[in-house]
Symmetry: C2
Subunit: 336 residues, 2 copies
Amino acid sequence: MRIALDAMGSDAAPLPEVEGAAELSLTDECQIILVGDERKLRSQLSRHRVNGNLSIVHATEVVTMHDNPAVAVRKKKDASLLKALRLVKEGHADACVSAGNTGAVYLAARAILGPIPGVARSAICRLLPTLRKPVLLLDLGANPDCNARHLTEFAEMGSVYSQRALRVSRPRVGLLNIGEEEHKGNQLVKTVHQNLSRCHNINFIGNVEPGAIYEGQADVIVCDGFVGNVFLKTSEAAGKMPAKLFKRELQRSWLSKAGALMCLGAFKRLKNKVDANEYSGGMLLGVNGVAIILHGSCTNRGVINSIRGGMRAVDGDIIEHIRLGIQELRASQEQS
Amino acid sequence: MRIALDAMGSDAAPLPEVEGAAELSLTDECQIILVGDERKLRSQLSRHRVNGNLSIVHATEVVTMHDNPAVAVRKKKDASLLKALRLVKEGHADACVSAGNTGAVYLAARAILGPIPGVARSAICRLLPTLRKPVLLLDLGANPDCNARHLTEFAEMGSVYSQRALRVSRPRVGLLNIGEEEHKGNQLVKTVHQNLSRCHNINFIGNVEPGAIYEGQADVIVCDGFVGNVFLKTSEAAGKMPAKLFKRELQRSWLSKAGALMCLGAFKRLKNKVDANEYSGGMLLGVNGVAIILHGSCTNRGVINSIRGGMRAVDGDIIEHIRLGIQELRASQEQS
């Protein structure tokens, strides 16, 4: 297994990338190709114990968070992100991982790896923790403007991914909405609800409200990229607020301070459970290759878990399964 | 001050309504008119100590959560909700409070109280807790489909409300978005961003991400009703999840169990801080009268805080201020 890691993507690049890659090289059966400024990467690597499975591909440019994605993908031909994706395209790597500019990763992956036939848009999907088992949500932000066809395709891809990569036997696919009833929501989700109700290849369970998502009532949740990103970012922010307020409250008496010390183990386990770095970054579904997108503020743990996420996707032959799954869906739709 | 309370609205009606009204009658200077099934209300009231400020107006019908709002408002002429709003319209009450079907409250308030001239839509606004002072968010769900003009008007009404009712001197108005940069988001918010940037009467601070909302970076946040309701419900669900997971983790050892007992006071204070029942329900902005909408699952505390929210709005002469504020805005827009 060979992973092309865009080592210049994250906010603190190349630190978390190099640290994560070095750590992983000691434990996992995997060749990691660090793509980025060779001098910087060598200098960082020298601080870590590494195993021979690491190599470097030099890249002179970097796509930054402030770059216009379309312009950057067109002009920065020697950017680490584009080079990493080309390694996948040309068969030198099996998957690409980047914590860079999401819009640029999306456009570059579409341009370099190419779209899967039968789907108009690609979507970012990721597992999110719930009170039961994690739920796959898509789109998490690649497509702020969607029409009903796009969302229907996201449901198809999400269902296939859940089945084939996550081994969920009949994934329950839900539509993120502000009410359970069929007539609830905006025009877009009302139309998608009708479309998915007629989709016999998908186990569509109807509208799902945020509370029900957190109770684990669905395996796959579909929404447009604007709503999905609001959901994701609100979840992260709202999930952190009680902890911050709680810390303030705990400071108010010596009794609660002492009690808090006794709960430290539970605090730490909770933190791990809700920390995004304990999960793989998002996978871009709908392109001809495995591309994993991490948050720019990721840690080395996030890099490690994302590389492992990429490895699982390759092991599961996800791209081929999605291609076949979509083909079958289209064939059955043409027949009916 | 006279408040018309739809006593049949909540999921457990009329229990929380009667309990809240009875409790409030002992402490606050306020006449409460309970509107609903007289026999049921008298039977419930007999269980509580009350003061003479309570009266009952009989209503034979109830708008339920399963009713189609438009049909219910047209046909159930003797519903408690409609009667309560008519008490405001006819000058027998100063404000109306209901925990009933949100869509029906919206339509009935528009039909009975009438819209404020100069605004096309009404919006539900509410204060939400943040790490600093609470933020006013609108629309929270009345308008799942909005155009740029609607959102611009929400910004205007929210700014006026924040200034005149909440005494914020130059309210910072932000647009809920998935990125800070001007070019981020869907087509709708991009257009609204341009419109608000040209609005000289509003202190527009640009796009605000969910994390920044929770850090208290804005006084007023504007979004369409679909996104606002997703934000609200995700906040509630995501905010509860860590507490639920934490409880599980605490059960794992006797040390953490004992520690948790010592933190009980802090737990309770935190719960109060994030409990929606500790805040007033949402106010419907853009109609000629004060109408407060509570969550159907409200408690007596929620009813009390919402009645008090209605009283503050009446005391602050909010409706007149919004009418004047919008008039001034329109006049200045015509001049420029």
